[in-house]
Subunit: 121 residues, 2 copies
């Protein structure tokens, strides 16, 4: 067994709050898998968010430098396109690596059947 | 390609708030990998939480039925042991399955290099 009792062994500091919040995790995963970005309305529907919620989260993510919002006009209709920035891509990859370690740490959960014979932790 | 544009495709409803919050995710992962539970102080150190923070989160998790707190006394010293309940184990496993799908959806992130030749999403 490795250093299971270690201080901070399960602290997961890398799960930064700006990314970890569920709606923002949805947004970033959607954008991460669409390299050219997504129109605001498609993103809204994929993440099951309201206009207001998506706007609020996109603003927070843009202020943190993780995404960019591009507004353009076509045939008199305004178009908003959302995209991951390069910084956002890197920080999201770091976040995903920590998420992987959570899953790997938690792998034992299904195997861990309490038995009286086992030594107490 | 599968139904990538689908409504709610990236909504991840299963990431329930009570589990997803980072400190609580730490606590549950620690407990999940220690079938017989953990003394309060060990858990505190593994999750890098303060007394107050751990207490607060444990109370919330216990109220949701996900963990149980057992107090005993030994040689005049009180001992608090924290443990995942069976309900907690099941709900945590469901949560982990959704987390797996986030990771699998995000796999494309590293591969997804923007190229002008690609069709816009």
């Amino acid at each position: 067994m490795s250093n299971e009792q270690g201080t901070g062994r399960f602290a997961y500091d890398g799960l930064e709050r700006i990314i970890h919040e569920r709606a923002r995790l949805s947004i970033l995963t959607s954008l991460a898998s669409h390299a050219k970005g997504l129109p605001f309305n498609d993103l809204k529907s994929m993440c099951s968010l309201t206009d207001g919620n998506l706007s609020r989260h996109m603003t927070a993510l843009a202020e943190a430098g993780l995404v960019e919002i591009e507004k353009s006009e076509k045939n008199n209709r305004s178009l908003t396109r959302c995209r991951l920035t390069e910084v956002g891509r890197k920080r999201f990859l770091n976040y995903l690596a920590v998420l992987e370690s959570v899953l790997s740490d938690a792998q034992t959960v299904s195997a861990a059947v309490p038995k009286e014979g086992l030594a107490p932790a």
